[in-house]
Amino acid sequence: MNTMDKQSKPDLLVVDNLVKYFPVRSGLLQRVNAWVQAVDKVSFAVKKGETLGLVGESGCGKTTVGRTLLRLVEPTSGSVSFEGKDILKMGSRELKPLRRDMQIIFQDPYASLNPRMPIGESVMEGLHIHKIGQPKERWEIAINMLKKVGLEEYHARRYPHEFSGGQRQRIGIARALAMNPKFIVCDEPVSALDVSIQSQVLNILKDLQSEFGLTYLFIAHNLSVVEHISDRVAVMYLGKMVELTDRESLYREPLHPYTKALLSAIPVAHPGQTKERTILKGDVPSPLNPPTGCRFHTRCPIAVSQCSQEEPQFKEVRPGHFVACWLAE
């Protein structure tokens, strides 16, 4: 399948030991008395032309990862290299041309467009910032992008509140696309939409990917959506990446107990069919004070004593299959 030849493709984006701790301040002097360990030593690579799905529960740090890649959130440490250049070391001047190559699509279609700006202007904004073309050309590019996502020219002068959620999400896509980027972070782009609109937006994303050769980091918490769109899938738990492999192996034979639990939670459409459920006990521990050793050991059904003491490395146990678990061989 094409997964194989995608695996042989070069890395577009390499993330190495990315860490983001948010300070918790309190008291009169606003002293930092704790750190939220939102992302802790996460490493992965995104290959050119692929879609890497990033899944995990709410609050596991997947959105923070996505925003850090674009420097919307400044990371605590680590490195992110895009086409061989470390973007975390860049000053704002060096970063600006890179903004054209890396874009983001947001989760909330109601908050992601400026309510006081006609959507045509919003789509043109990036072109304007980077001084691409004359005003007339920019307008044409914007209209062209709107048409690509199924909107018409007369929509361009309307304001965001005149559109539905799905339409706004598509406008957000057009805005990202107008920059002609290479890489797009899709931050839960469909989780705020209803199911019929979800597939429409997903299909637009897929079509655009093949038309423009885009690379996606697709953040989601819905495993079916991720299965539909991704070539490879990464699973995060409490700021750590626990498993990363191609879609087929992840859904067929997950190695990490957390991934197994997640997959067993996908509802089955057939009424007669039963499947084994792994139900996790308890809540996700607080990222303020994560468990020692493997962060999952407090809820892991197969944890052994080693798990609470030593942290497992995120290593390649099979070709292209990374897992962070002592018990995965």
Binding site: R99, L113, E125, G126, Y154
Partner: protein
């Protein structure tokens, strides 16, 4: 909406001016705002053409007919020095309108930018600006205004006629204390806007801080500022009157609506119109500005269907 019916060819030819056309069309639907606009325009025109419209020299004293009742010759009668009240009212519009409009537009503009910078950059920038604002707000305004006007009273701006240099100095004093309210207002708005995804999107597009502030923060926080501005316009007229009343504002013989009102205190019961007409002017101006503000706020909000 009407723009939806335009065909694509017309649409592509419409560029910058269409925004004004849309806002104008929406503004016209607000009847009271239009009435307010007409009144303000009349006041502005009379202020500009006061020298043509005024039947008498507003400074010319004629003690013989002092405190005369309204008549064919003196439409609104004369004051204690026999000056024609109607003419003085026209000339007063110049100073009063100028001070009000100048003070508020400058103060609100400063407030909007300082507030947006404070809220957007946060951290120590915000801390410093807010402490300064809080400090200034704790000071009692009127005594301070008196202090500054007294200090600057002797000052004149070279090259300007005396009444204008007085008007500008008093304006600057009023501006110094006028930007505080809108600063806090805009800062609050910007603090909530800053976290919204469209701002993140603009940053991801590579927009500079300045672009984000001017294109995203300020347009979205303008609605309460416009309300604040229109309330301020009325307030400044009264404040200027208060300063003049205490003898620290623009002092006679230069007429302003404020000091005309003050001048007639003792004669209010004998010649009530002497107080009534300057009062009416202040009242109409401040009311009109308020309605214009209402109309503008609604017209500028694309989410409101009008």
């Amino acid at each position: 909406m009407a723009i939806a019916q335009l065909d694509s060819e017309t649409l592509s030819t419409i560029k910058e001016e269409s925004w004004f056309v849309i806002v104008g069309r929406r503004f016209i639907r607000h009847k009271l705002a239009v009435v307010g606009m007409v009144i303000i325009l009349i006041f502005i025109l009379t202020a500009i053409f006061a020298n043509v419209l005024a039947p008498f020299d507003p400074y010319k004293q004629n003690l013989a007919p002092s405190y005369s009742n309204p008549s064919g010759e003196h439409l609104l009668g004369t004051d204690e020095l026999g000056r024609d009240v109607f003419s003085r009212l026209l000339y007063a519009a110049r100073i009063s309108m100028f001070v009000t409009v100048f003070v508020n537009f400058v103060a609100e503009t400063i407030g909007v930018f300082v507030g947006a910078i404070s809220g957007y950059f946060g951290k120590w920038v915000d801390a410093v600006i807010q402490r300064v604002v809080e400090f200034l707000l704790t000071l009692p305004t009127l005594p301070l205004l008196l202090f500054f006007s007294a200090m600057l009273r002797g000052m004149t701006i070279p090259g300007l006629p005396d009444e204008w240099s007085k008007a500008i100095i008093i304006s600057l004093v009023l501006i110094a204390f006028g930007w505080l309210g809108s600063t806090r207002l805009v800062r609050g708005m910007v603090l909530s806007l800053r976290e919204q995804e469209f701002v993140q999107a603009a940053r991801a597009l590579g927009a500079s801080d300045w672009k984000i502030i001017t294109n995203h923060m300020i347009p979205n926080s303008l609605a309460p500022v416009i309300v604040n501005l229109t309330l301020g316009l009325g307030g400044t007229i009264v404040l200027e009157a208060a300063l003049s009343f205490l003898g620290f504002g623009i002092t006679p013989p230069v007429p302003t609506w404020g000091n005309m009102l003050q001048n007639v205190q003792e004669r209010m019961w004998q010649q009530p119109w002497l107080a009534f007409y300057p009062g009416l002017c202040i009242f109409l101006t401040s009311l009109s500005f308020n309605y214009i503000g209402d109309g503008l706020r609604d017209a500028l909000d694309p989410r409101l269907k009008l």
